[in-house]
Symmetry: D2
Subunit: 396 residues, 4 copies
C-alpha cells in the first residue's frame, strides 16, 4: 500500500506524509478523532470560517516540521532519519490529548492538561508499536539531548505556533495574523544543539510576535468569543451538576456521562478517547427545551447564537457596577440572585507580547554571538503583560 | 441595536449585511441551524480543510447578490430598494431547506427536494413577518416579472454557484476551481429583464465552466468522496430499517427517529428544523460498536476513515467483474451474499460541461444582439454529457 | 564567495540558485541585460502592473526547472548532477537572445529568431567557460538522448510556459490566467526518456490550456496591446527608413543605428548585446517633437498613450469598409493616401487551444498506456484554430 | 467617450476612475510620464519584481482615496461630490512632481522637493482647466478647512502610505510588509473635521507601523539598495560635473543636460517634464565604456549589477577603520586618494517606529474621547529613533 500520500491544504498547497509510521498514526482512530474537534472551539460563532479542526492543524504542523528538518539539513545540521521520523511523530501527537472544545473545557470536563493526556496516549500507542515511539516520546518530553528537536515541537517559536497562528488567521479571515512561515523557517539554525534564529530574521520575529498579539485580542480573546466560551463552561458545569445529582436528563453519550461523573477522581482514558465535540454539541441540542431553566437557557443561547455581552477594560470593575449588573440581570430574567450569579463571569485575561520565560528566542548574530530577543530588538522592552478585566453577563 | 454588522470572510474580506430584515433572518434559529450543516458533507474526509458550512456559503452568496445589485445599478438598471431587499432575502433562504449532509441524504432521510422545503420555511417565516417576504418568495419561485432577479438566485450562472464553486475551491485547497467572481459580476447586464453577460466576458464564462468541471471530478465526484457518501447513505438506510423495525438501538435524537419513521408519509417540518449534521454524526458514534454487524461496520468505517474502494470508468462494468467482486467481498468479510449486496454500489454519475437546458447563458454582443453561449464559444459544442460508471465496495 | 543566493519572488516566495555556474551566468552582463527588457513589451500601457522583465521570468523558469528535477528524482527518475546543472543552464539561457521588446520587434529590428541568437550567445559563453556548457547546449538543441530534459526546456508543457503564463497573469492582474504549477509539476513523470503527465493530472492540463487561451485573448492579443505593438513596429520601421536614408535625426545609440542599418545583411552579435528597451524608448523620446510627421506622430502616441483603435472580428474585413477607413484617417489627419496606409494595419491573429504538432502532451494512464491529450480529453477535439482578423488605425 | 474606465490591478482587483476630470488628468502627458519612473528606483537590482511605477502607485492611492470617501460617507460624514473629486485629484497629482529615480536623485538632479514641483504642475494644469483644480490645490496644500481631506492625502496614515507599503511589499515579494488596507479604511472616522481611527482599529495600526518598519530595513534601506543608490547619486554627480565643465561626453538628452547645468539656479519646469528614468538610464548606457574612468566605472557597475559593499552598524565607524578602507579601495582600484573618496560614502539612516510630530495618529475611543496613539498603545513608547551608520565602498 502506498503510504506516501499527498494531502491538499489551502495554506501550504500540498502536505506530504514523509514516513510510513507517520502515515499509520494518522490512520489510527485516536488521531482520526481529532477530525471532530474544532481547533478554536466556539470561535466559529464569531468568525464563521473558523471551522478548522485539530486534525488539520496537526497535519499543518507536521508539514512545517518536515520543512524545518529539510532546511536545517541543507545548512549542514546532521539529523538522522530516525530523529527526523521521531520529531514528526512528536509533533503529530502533541495535540492528541485534546478533549472536546480543546482549551475551553480544559479544567471543566477534564482535570489534566492536554499535554499529559497526549503523553499517556503516546505511551499506549508505543506499547502497541513495540517501542517505535521511544525516541518521539523522548523528544516530546524534552529528555533527548539534542534540545532543538524538542524546541521545534514546543518552545516560544515552535512549528505548532507557526501553524496555528497562520491557520487561525487564514480560516477566520483576520489577515493581520498571517505570518511568513517560509521566511522564519529559512532563518532557523542550530548552535550547540539549541535552536537559534539568524540575525537577519529579527524583523520576521518581531512581525510574528505582533501577529500573535493581534490574534490574541482579535480572535482568541475577542469579546464575543469570550462570552461564548464562558457560556459553554457554565453549561457543561451545569450538566455535570445535573449528572452527578442524578437529575432527570435527556439521554447523552455514556462516555461523556462517565467523564462528567468521575474524571476528577477516576479518569478513564478509554472514555476520553470516545468523546469529541459531537458529544457535547449533542448534549446541548438535547436540552435546548429542557425543564432545567438554567441549563436550557445556556443551551438555547449557544445553539442560536444569543450570546452574552462582554465588557473588557484595563482597570478592575467597581463593586457598585457589578452589583448593578447583578440586579439588572436578575430583574430582566426574573431569577433570584443565586442563579443570576451563575450567569455572570468576571476575571482577567493576560497576554505578553514576548515571554522570555521559560523560553527565550535566541539569535545567532553575524559575529557569532548568541543573543536573546530582548537584547537586540527595540521591541524587546515590550515584554510587560497586558491584563484586561472582563465582565460577561446576559444581555438585558 | 446596530444591525449593520460586518462579518469577516476569508474569501471576500468583509461581508456587509445590507438590510435590517436580512439581519433578523440571519439571527433566526432556522438560519443559525445552517451553522451545523457542512456545505460539502463528507468531503472533509478527503480534503481536511473543507469544513465550511451552509451558513457561511449563504452569507457568501448574499454578498455576491449585493455586489451584483450595486453593479447593475451603476450600469443604470433601476432596482428599487424593495426589490434589492427581496433578492437578498431570496438568496439568503435558498438553502434553508437543506437537511443533514445536504445532497448526500436527500431522498434518503427526506423525500422532498431542499428547494421545496426552503419554500415551506420561507412561507412560515413570512407569516410571522406578516408578508414582509412576499416579494422574496415571488423572486425565489420565479413568478416576479423581472426575471433577472430570479436568475441571480437560480440559473446557470447564479450567485449561489459563483459562491459555492469559489468557496469549495478555497476550503478544499483545489485552487484550479477558483473563479473570478469580481470580473463575472462586472460583466453582468440586464436586457429586457433578462440577465446577460457582456460579450467581452466570454473568456471568464469559459473559465467558470472549466472550473466547475474541475470541481466536479476533483471534489464533488472524487472517488473517495463518492465512497464516503455511499457508505453514509447505506448507514442511514440501515438505521432507518432498524428504527422502523423497532430493533434494539442505542438512543438517538427524537426528531431524527420521527423523520426516519415518518418522513415518507407524514413529513413534519418542525422535526426537520431540529436536526442537523450533529444528530446523524451522533447516531453513527452511538453504534460504532453495536451488535448489528452491518450498521456498526459502516459507522466504524465512516468515523475512522476506513473507506470503501471506488472504481470509476467510462464503460459499464462487466457482469463477470461485478460477480467476482461480490464473491471476494463476501469471502473477505465472511458474510453471505445478501448482506454483501448491501455493501456494493454501482451506478453512473453524469456531468455536463455546459447545460443549455433549462437555462442558457446569454451574451450581449457589442452590436446589440443577444446570443447564447453555445453559439459564440468554441467550447459551445462541448455540451455533451460526461458519464462515468462507478463501482464502490469494501476493500479486500 | 557564497553563490547559493536566495532571491525574493512574489510568485514562488523564494528562488534558490542551485549551482555555482548558474550563479555565474546570472551575474554575466549578457544576462543582466535582460533586466532592461520587458517580458510583455508594450502591455504595461494596458495593464499598468505588467512591468516584469525577461530577467525575472527566466529566474522563475529556473525555479520551476529545479522543482521539476527534484520532483522527478523523488519518483525514482535518475538525473545526474551534471544533467541537472545543464538543464538549469539551458532554461536560464533560453531567452537570452531576446532583443528590445522581445516578440514585438522580432523580424523588424532583428531578422533571426531569438532562439537562434540564444544559441549563438550560449556558444560564445561556452567558449569562455571552456566547454562547461556543452551538455546545456545539447539539451537546448534537443540533441541529448534523454529527450525529457529538452521537453522541460521547450515543448507544449515546458517550464518556460508554466512560468510566463503564471507571471504574466500575476503582474497583469488577470487572475483567470493563474495556473497550478505545483500540481502540474507533481503530475510529471518520465517513461522511455519522454516527459509524460500522470492520468489524474488531466484536469490540471485542461485548466492550463484554458488559462493559456484566456491569456492570449485577454492579454497577449488584447485589442489595445495589438494597437500599441503595431504602432511600435511602424515607428521602428520608420526609424529604420530614416536611418538608412541618412535623414536628419536626433542622436540615438550607435549599436541601435548599426542594427537598423545592417541587421538584415550583416548582423553583429556585439551590437545586439548592447541594446535593450532603453535604446528604443530613448529613440522614441528623442523624436516626440520631430520634423518627420509620421515618426513623431507615432512616438508621441506611444509615449503619451494615444493609441490606435483596433477592430477584431472573425470574418475578413470588407474592401469597402477598409476603403472607408483609409479615407477617414486621411481626412482626419490631413495626410495623403500613401502616408495613411502606413498607419493602418490589417491581418490575422491565430491561436490554437491545443497544438498536437509538433509536441503532443502525453499521459501515463493508470494501466500503463501512453495516450495523447486529444484522445483522453473531452476538450481534445477543440484543437481547431481560432483566427481573428484585426484592423488597427488611428482614432478619428 | 466613456471615461468610466476600469483598470486591472493585481493588488485591488479593479480600480475605477470615479470622475471624468480624474480621467482627463490621467490621460495627460504630464501624468503618463509617471509610467517611466520606477516607484522604488534601483530596488529592482535587489528585488527583481519591484519594477512598479509611480503611475501605478498613484492609481492605487486614488483607489484607496475613493474607498475611504465612500466608507466615510456610509458612516454619515457628509462629503460633497466637489470635495470628493478634488480629493481624488489631489492624491492623483501628489507625486506628479517626482523626477527620475524619485527620492534617490532629489537634491542631486533637482533642488526642490517633489511636493513643491507637484504644486507647480498642479497650478499650471489648473490654469489650462480654468480653475477646476482650485479646491484640489487647497486640499493638497492643507488650506481647506476640512482637514481630514488633506490628512487622507498627506499625514502619518494617508492613502499614499497605505498604497505604497502594500504595493512595494507586493512587488518585492517581502510579504511581511503587507498591510490590511481594507480594515484600516473601515476603521476611519472623522471628528471635528479631523481624521481619527476607531479604538478597535488599534491592532491594525500597530501592525501597519510594524509593516512599515520592516519595509524600511528590508527594502528601502536594504544594504544593497543603499549601495546602488549611492552609486547612482555619485554617477549623476559625476555626469553633472562633466556637463558643467564641458568635458567630452557621448550625447545625452537635451533637457537632462539643461537640468544638470541649470537646475540649481534656473530651474525650467518644461525641461523637468521631459525627463524620466529613461534619460538617466540612457546616459549610463552611453558611458559604460567611456574614457572618464570614474564615470564609466559607476555606469558599468550599475548596469551589470557590480554593486558596492555596505556595512551597516549602530555605532559610528572608527577613524582607523575608515582610513583602512580608503587605503584598500585605492590600492585595489589603483586610483589616488581623491578619487577613492568619491567612491566611499558614509552617513546615517534614521527611522522612527512612530512619529508623533508633526502628525499624531488619533483614536476615537468608545467613550468618545480622542487619544493619540502613544497614549493607548503598548508600543507607544517605541517612538525612539533607530539610527544606523552606513559605510558604502567598492568591493576589494
Amino acid at each position: 500500500m502506498n503510504k506516501k500520500k499527498i494531502i491538499n491544504d489551502p495554506i501550504y498547497g500540498f502536505i506530504n506524509i514523509p514516513f510510513e509510521l507517520v502515515f499509520d498514526i494518522i490512520e489510527h482512530p485516536y488521531f482520526q478523532r481529532l477530525r471532530r474537534i474544532y481547533q478554536v472551539g466556539m470561535t466559529n460563532l464569531i468568525y464563521p470560517g473558523a471551522n478548522h479542526t485539530r486534525f488539520h492543524h496537526t497535519l499543518g504542523a507536521l508539514h512545517l516540521m518536515w520543512q524545518s528538518i529539510q532546511h536545517l539539513r541543507s545548512k549542514g545540521i546532521l539529523i538522522s532519519d530516525e530523529e527526523a521520523e521521531a520529531s514528526c511523530l512528536a509533533i503529530l501527537m502533541h495535540d492528541i490529548g485534546h478533549g472536546p472544545f480543546s482549551h475551553a473545557l480544559e479544567g471543566v470536563l477534564i482535570h489534566q492538561s492536554h499535554e499529559d493526556i497526549s503523553l499517556q496516549i503516546m505511551k499506549e500507542v508505543n506499547q502497541k508499536y513495540e517501542g517505535d515511539l521511544d525516541l518521539a516520546i523522548e523528544i516530546f518530553t524534552g529528555k533527548y539531548h539534542r534540545s532543538f528537536l524538542h524546541q521545534l515541537v514546543s518552545s516560544e517559536l515552535d512549528v505548532d505556533r507557526l501553524d496555528y497562528l497562520n491557520r487561525d488567521s487564514f480560516y477566520s479571515g483576520v489577515v493581520e495574523g498571517k505570518i511568513g512561515t517560509d521566511r522564519i523557517i529559512k532563518m532557523l539554525n542550530v548552535v550547540d544543539n539549541e535552536l537559534v534564529i539568524e540575525e537577519k530574521g529579527l524583523y520576521s520575529i518581531e512581525k510574528f510576535l505582533m501577529a500573535r498579539k493581534i490574534m490574541y485580542w482579535q480572535v482568541y480573546m475577542h469579546k464575543t468569543v469570550l462570552a461564548a466560551e464562558k457560556m459553554l463552561i457554565s453549561a457543561v458545569e451545569r450538566l455535570k451538576y445535573l449528572v452527578v445529582n442524578a437529575s432527570h436528563l435527556a439521554p447523552i453519550s455514556i462516555p461523556l456521562q462517565h467523564l462528567l461523573r468521575h474524571s476528577h477522581t477516576d479518569f478513564q482514558l478509554q472514555d476520553f478517547l470516545k468523546i469529541d465535540d459531537i458529544d457535547v454539541l449533542y448534549a446541548l441540542k438535547q436540552h435546548e427545551y429542557w425543564e432545567d431553566d438554567l441549563f436550557s437557557y445556556l443551551c438555547e443561547g449557544l445553539l442560536n447564537r444569543r450570546l452574552f455581552r462582554t465588557q473588557l477594560q484595563t482597570k478592575a470593575f467597581a463593586e457598585a457596577e457589578m452589583e448593578n449588573i447583578h440586579t439588572k440581570v436578575g430583574d430582566f430574567l426574573k431569577i433570584d440572585r443565586d442563579l443570576a450569579e451563575k450567569l455572570i463571569f468576571s476575571g482577567t485575561e493576560t497576554t505578553q507580547f514576548y515571554n522570555d520565560i521559560p523560553h527565550q528566542i535566541k539569535f545567532l548574530m553575524k559575529d557569532g554571538r548568541i543573543l536573546p530577543f530582548e537584547e537586540i530588538s527595540e521591541l524587546g522592552a515590550t515584554n510587560s503583560q497586558t491584563k484586561k478585566h472582563y465582565l460577561v453577563y446576559p444581555k438585558f
